[in-house]
Subunit: 336 residues, 4 copies
């Protein structure tokens, strides 16, 4: 932490700040510039809250943190890329992994039909929601445990591993008993009770960035899972909320190279939720691959016009096959 | 729902859209303008998801919802202002209600000292967190049940009713047994499992707007609680996330008159979390009263420099007394 | 500027950074912490651009500026509140100044009628646009010089000093010859050619914050005017663009105490443009006064339903009188 | 325009709204739903301002525009993709066009060296700024006309056509006499005086989206240029301002497919300004191509560590060659 003194701070005020820093257990390193003095506070600063109070001491202009607040998630701590295995798929390895399926599980027929499309197209993981976080209490909330059974059954019939969302800490054990990967949705990215709980699960976690979560906060949420003991975390960029309304959210594609620089965890993109419109899913999937993401998660539905949720952003089977063709051609060019 | 056709939409496309609207259970009201045809879809539209798919039909340019998606929270449904009672305090009535106390409960001494300050200043409700949602897993996470016991004890000694946060659906019964009002924090505003659970509680709920939540989404979250059976919901504006970094969040003060127009529920402001700096809490509290809020919730700490969380935004006792003096003077002028 | 080295930076890399700092004319002050070394670069840092390049040197993690980039606008440079005179009105003094009038000047009758309302209500300055920056090329662009003549004539008849917008550097002399204060609109806040030009004008300037402008950038834009020689600048907060669409923009009311802390320049609020709806103008005007602003600028129109621009946010005369009554009562309470 | 009545609107209020719509020159088409009546206002609605006032009539809940406010820029008006020629380069045609060069022109040597790098790498257009809009009045403001002469000279020596920014309407003729394409910078995207002026120029215009400009507003700004008579407009997405600070701005990559859907104008991406860091420029350039942009504009500098502006985001020559190799490989894969 750096404490910047005001240009007119007195010697006495500087001394007081130094004394305060030492009283809370840090070492003070003052340094005088042309216009003002700055004071470094050296020690373990993972919990910035205490030092931030220094902003209220007389003569202090502002404080600036130096250390990153996350550790286990950082590339400094773990230099090599992490690879997360979900069934036979390896997220973070050389292959671009496609997770696909309907937004919500509606019936065994619907999910099975979707899964055959995913498999035929070359997707590696089946997605489908049994617990649906919906903005409206009057919208379909998911088939719950019945949906999980359908998911397990379809996985058995097609051989595709599965990812599905969990929204309540009390349901983590249940969901884990049916699915191969646990998804934390965007609205729960700072639901710390849930993060701790999946941190104790044995299955890998797909952690979605919230629509107003900074990259640093996303890494702090991953840190909750990692520090609870679960090392298998995949980060997912799915669009952030901005002033632009032409798309449902704004896909922050730069987050991919930024995250690749800061963390060893795999990073995937969800173009369906970012755009909110199937028309933009194929170009955004190509961009995800080109920018260096480890995979995508997309919504596919055999009959989007009858989907009970998010039909507008779901791809029809033929569009999904086209997406997979595009992705394969670009992946080949990227490998050189 | 209005469906706007493209200017070059064919008669056939218009007919198809009308047929589709009727196939999903709505009545179609087409109307031809100078440049294009629009088609109203009449019926119960609380679940917009299904009709939104129409955007994918050939010839359709866009869809526009007409109805508000919330009902119980709306002023149309309940014209009179709702008043929520917490102990002797009435939020939403003629008096401006001040809730105050430390961010986190640290000890009986700390909370009792804070409570006497709140009482002496004229505050009506004591706040204090026992379960703390913290961005970092390495930060203090609260005293948990031990903190709730302290809260109950201090309430007994001072006569102040209490509000405290609950973060896990599994803890709602526990928290309710100790506190007078349940707080849903900003990061849990769309934690629907938690909203449903407090919707079944008997104690009133203080629902904080998330930093990424629109006013409509906040009302939908209130609707979760109301539709689960709990009519006592107080809304709290506590700053939204924007590009500006001079304050921790941007206090959306206009949300107060907007909400007053849309809903019968009481609305309070949290200037401490919005600003993130005690220096701005007094002027923002005055603004809260002047704009028509029903109250404020502010952080007060006997020794902010030793607070384990959010010390930088906590008022010292003398500043809290000044705040209360300012608020009383303005409240008197407002009543005329 | 502080340069933060990576935790694994080598001695050689640290030496290279020090040598580079000195090669570009600064002094280097290295300081080693528990996890990493930081290096202060001491010298004149008003132009941060050069030092920022250090982020690309091997072993460097990030750079952090220390100095504020503005000087003449800062309270450190000029401790006392500045007062800007416009006719008999003093913005930044003890009195809360109300500037009011129609969005666009439409005719002498319309402006004169508006001006009598402003005067009768107790407003001190008449506003009215002759050059209108409009999003659409097909919207009314203002009466231009003809409108300026009307403005001068109405000012003469009512004794009210005037403020009006200028959008083209080539028009500054012209506008200055008719009006008492020059307004720079939100969309021109970083139109540096225009800022330099009004910096050479003799009339005071009302500088509106852009909807995308940080508080620091607003002060840098003021610095353009001040450093060109014009010391009479009034800052105006008029709403920033956020994800919330319930109001046209989000009034950043906290900007007032933040600016009062950073600068000596007067600060006013424009609730009409922030809200985009007359219904919210009165409560937001009360909040502006309560939070400590030096005044407001509001839209008043004798017949809003016939206004050629922004009728939806214009107050009718009786609403304006009510606003002035509210403001007077609160101002009295504030003075204590 | 659709006018939505409140659910409790009376017959009398509905009649009044219909009468008002007709009094301002539109036809009214009322339609009654289950819960409320909506009224279509049919006529020429390019200027929404007038009808928006209807929100203030008794019984009206809200108004919703139907028509797009731009016409010449729309794909409905001009179905085929437009191709804009700059020298031998064709933006909007089958080839991906790379514009590259230094942020600011510093000297003939610097620009010439940059231009040879651009040419050797295969770039088609040379960029370089002579008039620099800088946040700080104390930063280098550009070589102005001297820089334009350097630009013309280097263009002559290398055969590369040029693009350079113009910031003052008074300079348009001058800049046009030296450069092949006029750039409107992000901060001037709603500088309507400047837009009108370049709308009368004979050279093509590169119009950058502002950091807080919606896609619709960008198209309205293009409409200013088109409606003034200049049909050669290229749109440029260069990052929008959001809450995320890990990159300088957030590249809105979805804007490319959205714009391709709405307009016939070519669309390019500026990854240098979006990211603010050269490290992210190559992956973002690949993403630009993959998502379907018509080209990119990137900063290249022979010695970024000595650049007077934006060195941190400029590519060194070898990185630029790598970018061009990547882009060529992907372009080939995209063509199939």
């Amino acid at each position: 932490m750096i404490i910047v003194m005001k240009s007119r701070a007195t010697e006495k005020q500087i001394e007081n700040v130094i004394a305060w820093i030492e009283s809370v257990g840090y070492k003070a390193h003052p340094s005088s510039g042309v216009e003002r003095t700055i004071i470094g506070a050296v020690g373990d600063q993972r919990d910035k809250a205490a030092l931030k109070y220094a902003e209220n001491l007389p003569g202090v202009e502002k404080t600036m943190p130096i250390l990153k607040p996350y550790k286990l998630a950082s590339r400094e701590f773990h230099e090599e890329d992490s690879v997360v295995r979900v069934g036979a798929a390896e997220i973070g390895g050389p292959e671009f992994v496609v997770m696909a399926g309907p937004c919500a599980i509606e019936s065994e027929e619907q999910l099975l039909e979707s899964a055959y499309v995913v498999k035929k197209g070359g997707g590696q993981i089946l997605r489908g929601g049994a617990f649906k976080p919906r903005t409206s209490p009057y919208s379909f909330q998911g088939m719950e445990e019945e949906g999980l059974k359908v998911l397990e059954s379809v996985s058995g019939k097609t051989g595709l591993p599965t990812v599905t969302e969990v929204v309540n800490p009390a349901d983590v054990d249940l969901v884990e008993s049916y699915a191969d990967m646990l998804q934390i949705g965007a609205r729960n990215v700072q639901n710390f009770a849930l993060l701790k709980k999946v941190g104790h699960a044995r299955k890998p976690v797909l952690l979605k960035r919230g629509m107003m979560t900074t990259i640093e906060e996303l890494l702090m949420s991953a840190e909750y899972i990692l520090s609870s003991g679960n090392p298998n975390v995949v980060l997912c960029e799915r669009g952030i909320r901005t002033f632009e309304t032409a798309t449902r959210n704004t896909l922050d594609i730069s987050a991919v190279p930024v995250l690749k620089n800061l963390t060893h965890l795999p990073v995937v993109i969800d173009p369906s939720h970012a755009a909110g419109n199937w028309k933009y899913v194929i170009p955004l999937s190509r961009a995800a691959l080109a920018v260096g993401a480890d995979g995508i998660i997309v919504e596919v539905h055999p009959e989007p016009e009858k989907a009970v949720s998010d039909g507008a952003q779901s791809l029809k089977p033929e569009k999904f096959y086209q997406l997979m063709d595009d992705v394969r051609a670009l992946a080949k060019a990227m490998r050189g």
